[in-house]
Amino acid sequence: MPNPFAVRRNLRRLADEDLVELVYSGEARAFDVIYDRHSGPAFSLAFRICGSRARAEDVVQDAFLSIWRSGARYDRARGSVRSWVLGVVHNRAIDALRREAARGAGRTVEEKFADAVPSGEYTDTEVERRDDAERVRRALEALPGEQRKVIELAYFGGFTHQEITEMLSLPTGTVKGRMRLGLAKLRIELGDEANVVLP
């Protein structure tokens, strides 16, 4: 019988893409490794969108279990496993937000004001992830405020361009134009990192 610790150690050496194949074949320990690698960014994104730790936990749980159970396949041609996982989390978080809005609950637009992670807990991976995050955050913050706002309202707030148009009392064309300009500037600012920032 294989040593479970050795199996786990070997799994941790595998690339995400290989782990995903094992996940689809029902290997729970491969799923654990995928979860451990990506649950931090997943939770951070869900928390940013939902504005509540409890709701963020539910969203992340739903997203990872859908990855475990669903027949939807990861497509290497469409980016890294991390961007795929975060895409699933994003969709679920926005769906949750819109369901709540449909039920009449409040919509929250927020940003973080403090870091909750004690620095002593950072691993090398955490530090690298935080460096990536800092780079993208700086690029976003460098955008003109009106462009950043429409991008944040759409991506993190789940608002449609029509809702943003009403919210900001702007013509639809202006809102779409700011989205386009803002993303184009981010593309230039991040350069190739826009495609590789999520290893």
Binding site: A28, Y35, S39, G40, P41, A42, F43, S44, F47, G51, S52, R53, A54, E57, Q61, D62, F64, L65, S83, H90, I94, R103, G104, A105, G106, R107, T108, E110, E111, K112, F113, A114, D115, A116, V117, E126, R129, A133, V136, L140, I151, A154, Y155, F156, G158, H161, Q162, I164, L168, V175, K176, M179, R180, L183, A184, R187, L190, E193, A194, L198
Partner: protein, 218 residues
Amino acid sequence: MSDECVGDAAAYVLGALEPHEAAAFELHLERCAVCREELDSLGGVVRALPMATRQYPAPKRLRRRVRRAVRHGSPALERSGPKGRLTAAFGGSLAALAAAAVAVVAIVGGSGLSGTVLPARVSGIAGSAQLKLVHGHGELVVKHLTAPGKDRVYEVWLQRGDAAPVPASVLFSVSTSGDADVGLPGDLSGVSSVLVTSEPLGGTSKPTRAPVIVARLT
């Protein structure tokens, strides 16, 4: 870009088109190479956006929940569900807390580590509010609160000692029944009061009105 192009690639990739608009744009993509190229180009940027959020570790209890569901194949997901516990802690007396400054700390779950609920004072409007603290993080729960009004929004502020309140960068409105469950990001260490004011839509950098909700942490 073809004659039909309306510059929707950015809105599409951000998920900001209405469903019928998204469907129309997807049809358009089939015959417009320029828009396809723009979409590819902007897609990479949007895939990077999640990393623009502040990074937190996922809670350990979440890992346990997910592992348990995977191992046991539970179709019914566990929920974090703090609301039930809050309601149980206060029984049917939420309304009685509405406008009163009740300096009572209720410990939820019998342990100070599992959660602390601070009733908050609501002034000048109807409704009640509580601040729930778990491991230094806060969640403001309001019930039956008067809506902020047309073109206005509630804004949350954090006050440390006698310093001027600073924006928590959290704006919220309430449901038709006046309820909202508002997460306060980050650690509340050092914060003495959480305040809520009614502000113009979009929020402000300084409070322009007296607070309608005050929750004291110290």
